[in-house]
């Protein structure tokens, strides 16, 4: 059915293409552009956007891309082999998963009638080969027990076959017959740094990085340094070369000639391109190697280079000071330092090409050791081995080499994902086949719309458990209203929508007319507060003012210090109370109406507000796909979400991904305001969405860290609905405590046996704790996305690991809604999931390592210590309990319908066909599940995974910390029992 070619939408494997050889500068620009693709695409950390870490390789199939990424970045493609083996040992990977994985790979006969590739690989994966390298093999032979006994974990059949053999005999045969593997040829140095390190033992990166980091850091600084870098308006390269070569300025060792180089460049007024060309010529890098060379030079300090590149592409990412950035400038600076250091150390700048790199560590014993190991696992005795024909022996050799460590990890990973898939899909299908756990009454008491975020799964389930006549709905957390928004306390507007969308409409929060004086008061107080805080900040650090303030006022900081650390929750509440007491809060409203077509702001291109038609379109865009066409409850609550935590540079990573790393509260509030307008309701009716007259929409906000919930514009609500709100509020209060309780099971600091109320206090304390590196676990453990009707996941415990997107296929005959939903959620959820995947499999290269030594630099990122590279990706404290599996999308649709939508969208095609996500469909009519594999859909078969039925979520998770499987929550079970 759906076999097709991989799309070529962003193929950048041919950098040379399209440029005449006579235009080297054009070629250079092209090469640098291409090289910059591989840099991390993480902007200033204040707005943390999750994205596929290997976005630059997304045009290739996942399994190829991870290997290429591993080579390019020096990273790990999968978890370690031992990790998978221990997952097998604890039953997370089953033997049948491995068998199935191998069955899908091409087979071949190795020893006729005796051994096939599958059999070989089977033992190579589990029990697995012992780790061998040349050094430990000789040790094992001479000192260890390799030659005295066979492995102790041999399969019974193998042990029997070897019963009359000796290890010594087996080893001798292996040693005699194994083909001598040729040593790998020594690599040619790509960068002078590698060559110089090999020849002189001097690491040039350690010499040139400190000044580069200091210059770039000062240049990009958004307000930490008291004295901003002068001449920034001239660009990084020019500023650096005017500042650095001052009279009497002392350069670090090996870099003394940088001053002269800068002076010359300045005298000749060389552009960045000219400097790079000049350096490439001096370094004698031939044109056909520019690409490799520049990629490697840029990747050597990838965090900073990536930041420069991000700010070059979009200067508005800079939170405060917009500085002109150019990756060419950065490269020119880097190469100037490189040439100077190379000249000083080696004496010339071209001979480095001929330096020998140290040969890769190689020992022929390693291969023999592996054959020895394999022979034992397969029960190939020395006699059998001796009797093999040369041809068979060659094949054995080749097959063992082909199934190297990376290949084994790939296979194990697929098996690992397969078990996850079956533990989700089989119980899900069972749950669907059982009677739906539906609300009892005719009309729902309320509908509560949450973000699709997997962290909302628990509170949604809890809410429906607490009050079965409430239904929850999931929609991407910007609720279809992409806006540029500024609240009364914000200085500038910010985009509240997925990062791929550029908002075209502005919405502002303003005080209601009667309250404008309160607003004035508030602003004045805030200005005064800002002045005091700012002065306190500066004066504690400078010389003269600092003398007075540190000596006299330092004592005052004892109270916040001690209280914040010893009693964070009480202190946080105290501060909030102070704020409430002294900072008046005006009643506010939104300016979101637009009557005039021409009200487009000339400078920003943004339009003020939405017309009624636009508003109706937005509302229909959410209610339609979710299947909310009529029979709405009397109260529909829209809950946006965000997360607040202290002392946490990654705060934004916990916020709403669909709102570009910000909070979705304004979107929820706006959506409710719009949906309540009679004119909008009128327009909706024309679109076939009939909202009853007595239905009221109410906006709200859920903090996923402290589990606080608040509502907006309650004063606008008609009195008739206050009773409904009271009921929903009560249920939500219970549900958030239950939600807090459920997620507390993952925290070691929380008591596993506590009550929901204590758990709620615990999570609130986490949000106020300045020493808490894990205020919440964010998207950690995410693994599934379900796109379909809620009734089929209602009452299903999904362990906060599933994004839940409401979509009703029965009301979407044209698949138009499906296209819109998937177009938004696959890139967002896929991006989140892949960022977690890569940060988990290689925490130091793809992730940002441990958070503990992180140091905020320039307000744009974090680095280790006082001069290091900017760290990108997620810290270990965020991913430590993550299971790195590609997200499994379960979409309620048919394969044909799904693929028609996927193929119409190149980005989705890339995600699905290159297997960056896993996809399965659930038939809207009969619920059967089909799984996408290499272009075709396969029906889900087998029923080995059970679906436990329990009376409540708590009964299922209480006392357990590990990942839990699906379970059906059926309160009737308790009644029956």
């Amino acid at each position: 059915m759906s076999t097709h070619n991989h799309s070529d939408t962003c193929d950048h494997s041919h950098p040379q293409g399209g440029h005449a050889p006579g235009d080297p500068v054009g070629h250079l620009r092209h090469v640098v552009d291409h090289a910059a693709h591989f840099l991390p695409t993480q902007g200033p950390i204040g707005v943390f956007v999750h994205h596929n870490t290997l976005h630059s390789l997304q045009n290739k199939p996942f399994e190829e891309a991870v290997l290429e990424g591993a080579k390019l970045f020096g990273a790990e493609p999968y978890m370690a082999e031992e990790a998978y083996q221990s997952e097998h040992a604890r039953g997370r990977i089953l033997n049948e998963d491995i068998d199935d994985t191998l069955r899908r790979e091409p087979d071949a006969e190795i020893i006729v009638g005796r051994l096939t590739r599958r059999q070989l690989r089977r033992v190579l994966l589990i029990p697995g080969v012992r780790r061998v390298n040349g050094i430990n093999v000789s040790w094992q032979i001479e000192e260890g027990d390799w030659l005295t006994s066979f492995r102790h974990d041999l399969p019974a059949a193998a042990a029997r076959a070897l019963a009359n053999d000796t290890p010594q005999a087996l080893w001798d045969v292996c040693k005699k017959r194994a083909k001598l593997q040729p040593a790998p040829p020594p690599a040619k140095p790509v960068r002078p740094r590698d060559a110089v390190l090999a020849r002189h033992g001097i690491d040039m990166d350690a010499i040139i990085h400190p000044p580069l980091i200091r210059l770039t850091g000062a240049y990009l600084d958004q307000g930490i340094a008291y004295w901003p870098m002068p001449l920034r308006e001239e660009g990084l390269l020019k500023a650096a070369r005017k500042i650095m070569p001052q009279p009497l300025a002392l350069f670090p060792a090996h870099l003394t000639s940088v001053a002269e180089a800068f002076v010359q460049q300045e005298a000749k007024q060389m552009s960045a391109e000219a400097v790079v060309m000049d350096a490439l010529e001096k370094l004698a890098v031939p044109q056909d190697q520019w690409d490799d060379y520049i990629v490697q030079e840029l990747l050597a300090l990838r965090g900073w280079a990536g930041m420069v590149r991000m700010l070059e592409n979009d200067v508005t990412l800079a939170p405060h000071d917009r500085v002109k950035c150019s990756i060419m400038d950065f490269l020119a600076l880097r190469l100037t330092y490189t040439v100077a250091a190379l000249q000083d150390i080696v004496g010339d700048t071209t001979s480095w090409h001929s330096f020998q790199l140290p040969p890769p560590r190689f020992d022929p014993l390693a291969h023999i050791g592996r054959i020895f190991d394999v022979a034992q696992l397969l029960g190939l005795s020395s006699d059998t081995l001796r009797s093999l024909s040369d041809e068979e022996w060659d094949r054995l050799d080749e097959e063992i080499i082909a199934c190297n460590e990376t290949e084994r990890r790939r296979l194990l990973h697929i098996a690992y994902e397969r078990r996850h898939e079956r533990r989700i899909l089989i119980p899900l299908a069972r749950h669907r086949s059982l009677p739906s756990i539906q609300p009892e009454s005719d009309r729902l008491a309320a509908q509560v719309m949450f973000c699709i975020d997997e962290r909302e799964e628990s509170i949604r389930r809890a809410l429906e458990e607490v009050d079965p006549s409430i239904e929850t709905v999931g929609a991407a957390g910007f609720f279809g209203v992409a806006i540029d928004y500024a609240g009364i306390d914000d200085a500038d507007g910010a985009s509240l929508c997925p990062v791929v969308v550029k908002p075209a409409h502005t919405v502002r929060e303003v005080p209601v007319k009667e309250h404008s004086y309160v607003h004035k008061q508030r602003q004045n107080l805030r200005r005064a507060w800002a002045k005091i805080v700012r002065n306190g900040f500066i004066s504690s650090r400078t010389l003269v003012r600092g003398w007075i303030s540190t000596a006299c006022l330092g004592f005052l900081s004892l109270f916040p210090l001690v209280l914040r650390v010893l009693s964070p929750l009480a202190y946080g509440r105290f501060i909030k109370r102070l704020n409430r007491a002294f900072l008046p809060e005006p009643i506010t409203e939104f300016t979101y109406m637009r009557d005039d077509e021409a009200s487009r702001d000339a400078t920003t291109g943004l339009m003020r507000g939405f017309t009624t038609q636009e508003q109706a379109d937005r509302v229909a865009g959410i209610l339609g796909p979710a299947g909310m066409h009529k029979a709405h409850a009397r109260l529909v609550v829209i809950l946006g979400h965000g997360s607040t935590s202290l002392n946490n540079p990654y705060e934004s990573a916990y916020c709403c991904g669909a709102c570009g790393g910000r909070t979705g509260a304004p979107n929820a509030r706006l959506f409710a305001l719009i949906a309540n307008r009679p004119a909008v309701r009128e327009a909706l009716r024309a679109k076939g969405i009939i909202v009853p007259e007595d239905t009221w929409f109410l906006g709200g906000y859920h903090d996923t860290c402290s589990d606080d919930i608040q509502f907006f514009d309650v004063d606008l609500m008609p009195e008739s609905h206050h009773g409904d709100l009271a009921r929903v509020r009560q249920s939500l209060d219970k549900a958030r405590a239950l939600g807090a309780h459920e997620r507390s099971r993952r925290f070691a600091a929380a008591d596993l046996e506590s009550t929901p109320e204590i758990a709620l206090r615990h999570v609130q304390e986490r949000a106020e704790h300045i020493s808490e590196p894990r205020p919440e676990y964010g998207h950690c453990t995410n693994a599934v996305a379900y796109v379909g009707r809620r009734e089929f996941t209602r009452g299903l415990f999904m362990d906060r690991r599933a994004f839940l997107i409401s979509y009703d296929a029965t009301k979407d005959p044209t698949n138009e809604a499906l296209g819109r939903v998937l177009g938004a959620v696959i890139p967002v959820c896929g991006g989140i999931n892949l960022e977690y995947y890569f940060s988990t499999v290689d925490i130091e290269t793809y992730g940002s390592g441990t958070k503990l030594p992180h140091n905020v630099s320039g307000l744009v990122g974090v680095m280790n210590g006082y001069q290091g590279d900017l760290r990108t990706g997620l810290p270990v404290q965020t991913v430590e309990i993550h299971e790195p599996v590609r997200i499994l999308f379960v979409i309620e649709s048919t394969p044909e319908r799904l693929m028609s939508v996927v193929k119409a969208n190149p980005e989705l095609t890339e995600f699905v066909c290159n297997k960056w996500i896993r996809v399965a469909t659930m038939d809207p009519d009969d619920g059967h599940i089909e799984i996408y594999r290499d272009g075709v859909f396969e029906k889900l078969e087998g029923d080995e995974e059970p679906l436990p039925v329990v009376p409540s979520s708590m009964a299922w998770y209480q006392g357990k910390m590990e990942h839990l499987g699906l379970a059906r929550i059926d309160p009737k079970v308790a009644k029956a029992a």
Partner: protein, 451 residues
């Protein structure tokens, strides 16, 4: 309980905990995080209560100087190593602030380091550090003070290199270690000379009267007193990142945030100032030493504030801000404003601890202030800087960005010749040179692997 016993308990509790924990560790034992956390909290609770009772008792009985003598550790001819502790109006506030800040940081770290593989090691070192710091501030002689001084130094170095699997922390820890060693040499020589010339290095033997306003009672030439004072000024400079040793403080930022706070914001860096306050009568009689303290303090303060202005990352910026105030504290001591200096020390220590612990908040704080100020923050760096002509401004910026060229001078004119000399000497040791560069190469390789 007598105040003497309380003092003994104060100093010995962290030592006992450290010893117990290290023995357990060496025996291959393990303690769950919960237990370490409870022990740590209990220790600091005991210390805090003890310090309060001690202060109260001393105040009540009007005792301003409390000595506990446990006799001599050993005696050789005329020399005895006195084991004697002292609390007076100088050391009490510093002891109290040490206990409180170490306690706060300990409590902070329980959460902060949760699940870190080095959890045990961190608390082991924190208790050892607390013991070392208390020993420095209560030692009744230079001989005993050195013990605490070295403990504080070595724990500081081990915590800078806390993340052992990366190369940079190890490299920077080594640099700080070397700096400490050089500075400590001055202290050792001072102690030897004190014993040699005056036969004593105990506070009781050297000074009479009560702090403040105590006087020295050394019988000897002004020059010898002056030499000892100058040596001790250098020793103090090493600990407090002043004068010739002013470059190591930013390097110390490699460790986890709470250790940066307790060492480089709060306690360890102020130990140098404490030493100066203690030996103040010595340099009061020596204009050379007085001038040196003032000169070192003021130049470091000037350099520190200049460099601080250009630092674009949270921790380095704070490190230089600390260094600036420490310079001023040195100058205050030089000018004889000792009471003010001690107030400054305590106040500064508290403030910096809070600021260091909150460095990860830099982003949020700045954004909040920016929003509250209505999107316009008054530009900084336009007052003093504008007094100079453009050319000098840029020169000053360059000077500050190069951190006063301190590292360049040290690397090129001190370390490089030293290494060259060592290499020359290596000709007497065949085979050594062959190992040298190769080992370095391995080191750099593992660094690439780690990064």
């Amino acid at each position: 309980m007598s105040p003497q016993n309380i003092l003994l308990i104060l100093v010995s509790t962290p030592l006992v905990v450290f010893l117990a924990m290290s023995v357990l560790w060496l025996l291959g034992g393990h303690m769950p995080e919960q237990a370490i956390s409870r022990i740590t909290k209990a220790v600091y609770a005991i210390l805090t209560i003890g310090a309060f009772i001690l202060g109260y008792k001393m105040w009540q009985s009007g005792v301003t100087t409390l000595r506990v003598s446990l006799g001599d550790w050993f005696t050789v001819a005329h020399y005895g190593f006195p084991l004697s502790l002292l609390v007076d109006r100088l050391s009490f506030p510093i002891v109290a602030v040490t206990i409180i800040l170490a306690g706060v940081v300990g409590s902070f770290s329980v959460r902060y380091l949760h699940r870190d593989p080095g959890f045990y090691r961190f608390f082991l070192l924190l208790h050892l550090f607390t013991f070392g710091a208390l020993l420095v501030f209560t030692a009744d002689s230079l001989d005993l003070l050195i013990g605490g001084w070295e403990i504080v130094g070595i724990t500081s170095v081990l915590l800078i290199g806390f993340f052992q699997y990366r190369m940079d922390p190890a490299r920077n820890a080594l640099r700080v270690f070397a700096t400490y060693r050089v500075a400590d040499l001055f202290m050792l020589v001072a102690v030897f000379l004190a014993h040699h010339w005056f036969g004593t290095a105990s506070w009781e033997g050297m000074f009479s009267g009560e702090w403040p306003g105590h006087v020295h009672n050394l019988q000897g030439s002004a020059a010898s007193i002056s030499i000892i004072a100058v040596l001790l000024v250098f020793a103090a400079s090493g600990k407090s990142s002043q004068g010739p040793f002013c470059g190591w403080l930013p390097r110390a930022m490699e460790g986890p945030t709470p250790s940066s706070a307790v060492f480089y914001g709060a306690i360890s860096v102020h130990a140098g100032a404490y030493l100066l306050l203690r030996i103040e009568p010595l340099f009061r009689v020596s204009w050379v030493a007085t001038a040196l303290v003032i000169f070192v303090g003021l130049t470091t303060a000037l350099l520190g504030t200049l460099v601080h202005r250009t630092c674009a990352d949270a921790k380095t910026s704070l490190a230089y801000a600390s260094q600036t105030q420490l310079g001023l504290i040195f100058a205050e001591i030089g000018f004889g404003w000792t009471t003010f200096a001690i107030i400054h020390i305590v106040s500064h220590a508290i403030l910096r601890t809070l600021q260091f612990l909150r460095t990860p908040s830099m982003l949020r704080d700045h954004h909040r202030v920016h929003a509250a100020a209505g999107g316009k923050i008054d530009p900084t760096g336009e007052h003093l800087e504008a007094l100079f002509p453009r050319g000098i401004q840029i020169w000053l910026y360059r000077f500050a960005l190069g951190r006063g060229f301190y590292d360049s001078i040290l690397n090129r004119f001190i370390i490089a010749p030293l290494l060259w000399g060592a290499r020359m000497l290596a000709i007497f040791e065949p085979g050594w040179e062959a190992v040298g560069p190769d080992a370095e190469q391995h080191a750099s390789k593992s660094e690439t692997a780690a990064s």
